[in-house]
Subunit: 305 residues, 2 copies
């Protein structure tokens, strides 16, 4: 087996970057020539994690030659990876999302409905008898904290928390203290333009026939972000016009109190009202207890689309 | 978790039937209300296996209500299962084929590019600490022998053979002797009409744009089957006309000598000639060393389509 590229989804979050590093490390330990890659820039939270762990970011790639062998981590969605994915040879997938890819050939596929890819990676290390070193433990733990919002997201399973606590022992980290610092680092929007904020963690999703973007950012203070509401709305409207969207949902998620303020624009914005039984006032509403796009937003909006 | 239906692909082969039984048994041992099902009749080889093991066939089902929870085994192909698969909740997939399904939700997905689903099932039993009883071992071993043609198929990996030998110890079975008897039982076509023979193990596959069926039977004597050549061709032509096929490939696979006689009909029959560098004489040719549809037929025909 020659060179094999390991990458997660575009707009990489901490789990995607960490999965790429952790999986490439495992493959290398097992004697394979794996290269950790990423399909986009590092966000502030991930930057904090990489600095803390003293690890370099994966290699940024924008394309891969037809026939290249790849491993997908933290995604099994052809729209979220390289455009020519159908020309590449997917050797493995390790993921915790929906299946949204087709291959003409068998491959190694490992997915579980858990809160974070690292909870599966942890098992792969154990099964292969590869020691989880301190640096790897820091990375894995950080991704679990990120994806589960410190175990407060409804996507978090008991297994995620158990795995995180075992990793914290290896890493020598106090989870709550470190976790809150890390999450807060991710809420620093000061260096971003409005357009960049809207793209930081945006997913293009079809809710049945409704062409949508659902973007999300974390914050420790919803009012701070809502000061930019007018500019955010202008930016969202621009994207709607450019991409011909039916709906743009922007979630401002309070990581302290576990709520989300939603801004919804587009001709199908009423789906949000129907889905949550709320009234959008000046395009916005508070969604109590909603923090998980995957579990509390996409399926509910889809049902009501 | 309520009732959960476990089934493999239509036109079930031994691996599909065994996977359903073995997976449902594992789920039950883990406290879940799983029901082993099948989507078609039991073939002669599988009948031999079930009789030997003293196990009843899975429950035959033709449909399932929307919302039913299911586990797919030995397939991840939406076309090979129930027509309303998109309305069902797929909780798990355990498979060794291509990915040809999309879900809107995360699930447990376990696939490896090995020769038989049971090689993965064996690991699942171990990982869950569930003892493999003698009856289960007989079933699993039989499926591995079936899918790998007694380890002679190029789809067979060292792991398949190793797993089979461990299962043979539990089952108290001499692999070569039992395996040849079992495979031969599967070659008995005496009770089938021509139409039934053509459907016994037929897969509808699009080779790029070429609408095809690739059917396969095993035999201990190619000349015996070729006595029916005229009738087989009439039957194939009838299916081509009915389904508007571009290609019907019928493989008669010699399990003793590991070759296949191919009969190819349809306006794209020349793909077979191109793919294997052979000349079809009266629609037929010998394909030396070809025994695996998955590894030696589908990809090669696709490349040349």
């Amino acid at each position: 087996m020659g060179e094999i590229l390991v990458f997660g989804h575009k707009n990489p979050d901490t789990d995607s970057i960490v999965s790429s590093l952790v999986m490439a490390n495992l493959e290398k330990k097992l004697g394979r020539n794996a290269i950790s890659c990423r399909l986009g820039s590092i966000n502030k939270e991930t930057e904090y994690v990489l600095n803390y762990a003293g690890v370099e970011a994966p290699k940024l790639i924008e394309s891969a030659e037809a026939g290249t062998e790849v491993i997908l981590v933290d995604t099994a969605n052809r729209k979220e990876v390289l455009d020519n994915i159908d020309e590449l040879k997917i050797r493995k997938i390790v993921d915790h999302h929906q299946v949204a890819i087709n291959t003409g050939y068998p491959l190694y596929y490992r997915a579980e409905p858990v809160g974070c890819t690292e909870t599966i990676m942890y098992k792969l290390y154990k099964e292969n008898g590869v020691e989880i070193e301190k640096t790897i433990a820091i990375l894995m733990l950080s991704a679990i904290i990120s994806d589960t919002l410190l175990f407060k997201s409804p996507t978090c399973t008991p297994e995620d928390e158990k795995t995180a606590r075992e990793l914290a022992n290896i890493a020598g980290i106090k989870i709550e203290e470190y976790g809150m610092e890390m999450l807060k680092a991710g809420t620093d929007l000061s260096s971003f333009s409005i357009d960049e904020i809207l793209k930081l963690d945006a997913k293009e999703i079809n809710l049945k026939e409704v062409k949508s973007i659902i973007a999300q950012i974390n914050t420790a203070s919803i009012p701070d972000v809502m000061q930019k509401k007018n500019d955010l709305e202008s930016g969202m409207q621009k994207v709607i016009d450019e991409k011909g969207l039916d709906l743009f949902v922007f979630l401002i998620t309070d990581i302290i109190n576990s709520n989300s303020q939603v801004i919804a624009l587009g001709k199908n914005a009423n789906i949000v009202e129907k889905a949550y039984g709320v009234k959008l006032v000046e395009n916005t509403a508070m969604l109590e207890g909603v923090v998980s796009r995957k579990k509390q937003v996409v399926p509910i909006l889809t049902e009501n689309a």
